[in-house]
């Protein structure tokens, strides 16, 4: 048995009754005893704390750090101030998605956060593509990472963090000195709710979690597993690598055109994406509601007009809507809201209807 990597919070998860499962080489909690629906609704109504320390955290340093990172991503880091971060795709020369990432403009350095499943690939890609003058660091072990999400996330924070984030806008960050170390917080997330991604130096990782759980108790803060993380993001139609995103899909197909900045002089994958923009995409993501009680699942074929036209990328039960929903790739002519599709659920055909995205619009996420 190959050893699974453990985050600094592994023992805490176990003590909370977390069901620990292998995930991208790490042992992570998929849920706690309350269950996925409970956790999902807790994040929508109050606040939840996610251990996302399994994600890859990579720094670029030196005068050319911004330019070096910018060459790798489709979005444009040069448009940011040193208080901001962005979401982006990271493409290969063919425009295929190597990963989707958040990238922090930290002034003299850049932090790029990659999905756990792609962390090794992204690190190799960075090592192969950074100019000689840029120093890079894999800080995955040096820093823990947690996501605090929910309408009461800010209230859950304790001093000095709560005060420090008061003026921090959406997709902005701040650095806070705590017990002699620097903690980085940004207002963003993966749930459709207000909240923060927080990076804590490893020696303080556990004390930070414990203080936060204690201060958040008053607003109902609970630890949340990866199961609810997935249902929360699906309900607001955020893409998941391995589902909506892969080497075989481009950001234009995946509904991520907004993170492709064609005005940038150059970035890896630009020429392929320009060509696809001009020619038109062969397929696009559609969101659908399943009529009836059965659920669509990742990988099920999508049919229309008597033939297979695509496949489900994510599907399941949306606890806030109490409905079965899903997303999948279909030719653009089948992606209009109101269009009827069939989902092949292992031989049983489920009727589905294309709907507007996002599915869930009641979230507390800030737009400024």
């Amino acid at each position: 048995m190959s050893a699974l990597r453990l985050t600094p919070y592994h023992e805490i998860h176990r003590a909370h009754g977390g069901r620990l499962v292998p995930f991208a080489g790490w042992e992570m909690p998929v849920q706690f005893p309350g269950g996925i629906i409970h956790e999902h609704l807790r994040v929508r109504s109050a606040a939840g704390l996610f251990d996302v320390s399994h994600m890859g955290r990579f720094f670029f340093r030196g005068p050319e750090a911004i330019a070096a990172a910018n060459q790798l991503i489709t979005n444009d880091l040069t448009k940011l101030s040193d208080r901001q971060l962005l979401y982006s795709a990271l493409c290969n020369p063919a425009g295929g998605i190597l990963d989707d990432v958040t990238v922090y403009h930290l002034g003299d350095e850049v932090l790029l956060v990659a999905n756990a499943a792609n962390a090794e690939r992204v690190w190799n890609w960075i090592q192969g593509h950074h100019p000689a003058g840029v120093r890079i660091e894999d800080a995955t072990e040096r820093l823990a990472q947690v996501a605090l999400q929910g309408p009461r996330a800010e209230e859950a924070l304790f001093a000095p963090f709560r005060e420090a984030v008061a003026d921090v806008g959406y997709y902005c960050h701040t650095r806070v000195s705590w017990r002699g170390e620097t903690v980085l917080l940004s207002r963003n997330g993966y749930t459709g709710e207000d909240g923060f991604e927080i990076y804590v130096p490893r020696p303080l990782a556990v004390p930070f979690w414990e203080e936060l759980m204690a201060s958040g108790r008053a607003v109902g803060l609970e630890p949340i597993g990866l199961g609810a993380r997935d249902s929360l993001r699906m309900e607001v139609n955020y893409a998941l690598y391995g589902n909506e995103l892969s080497l075989e899909t481009t950001p234009l197909e995946a509904g991520l055109r907004w993170v492709v900045k064609f005005k940038k002089p150059d970035f890896i994958g630009k020429s392929a994406l320009v060509a696809q923009r001009d020619a038109g995409v062969p397929r696009t993501l559609a969101g659908f509601e399943v009529l009836g009680k059965r659920l669509a699942r990742h990988g099920y074929p999508i049919r229309a007009a008597g033939r297979e036209i695509g496949f489900v990328t994510s599907g399941g039960f949306c606890p806030s809507l109490e409905k079965g929903m899903g997303m999948g790739y279909v030719p653009p002519e089948f992606a209009d809201p109101g269009r009827t599709l069939e989902i092949d659920a292992r031989g049983a055909l489920l009727e589905a209807r294309v709907v507007e995205r996002p599915f869930y619009r009641g979230g507390s996420v800030r737009k400024n």
């Binding site: 249902s231 009680k293 059965r294 699942r297 399941g316």
Partner: protein, 132 residues
């Protein structure tokens, strides 16, 4: 992890109880825990023939879908219609309100070949389910 002593079990984590000429079946505590939040149970109509080891329905949970396999051959005589409005009963009480089908067995000797509670506990220990 509950494994009641008065039931028989399948390796697919279903339970069966003989009640006179009929049997009642559902999924085990281990199965409901693995599936977690159950949101829909698809069951056959009364009268549907059953073949042991063959699928007769499915369980939709938030994270996954699982087939239900007939523990015995025979015929469905009734299904638990209450699960339509309250599928979470399977999570709460898999051996009671969470029952799934009632059936008439074609061959009761099949029951003797199902796992005893001791053997089922041993199976759970093997898959790591006994530790919780």
């Amino acid at each position: 992890m509950q494994v009641p002593d008065d039931l028989r079990y399948t390796k697919d984590h279903e339970w069966v109880r003989r009640e006179g000429d009929e049997f009642v079946a559902g999924i085990t505590d281990y199965a409901q825990q693995q599936l977690s939040d159950i949101v829909y149970v698809e069951l056959p109509a009364p009268g549907t023939p059953l073949t042991s080891g063959e699928p007769f329905g499915s369980v939709e949970a938030v994270k996954a879908v699982a087939d239900l396999f007939a523990p015995l051959s025979g015929k469905v005589t009734a299904v638990n219609d209450a699960l339509t409005g309250d599928p979470a009963a399977v999570n709460r009480a898999p051996y009671a309100e969470g029952w799934m089908i009632r059936g008439r067995a074609g061959d009761w000797t099949e029951l003797d070949r199902l796992l005893t509670p001791e053997k089922y506990r041993a199976l759970l220990a093997e898959v790591g389910g006994g530790a919780h």
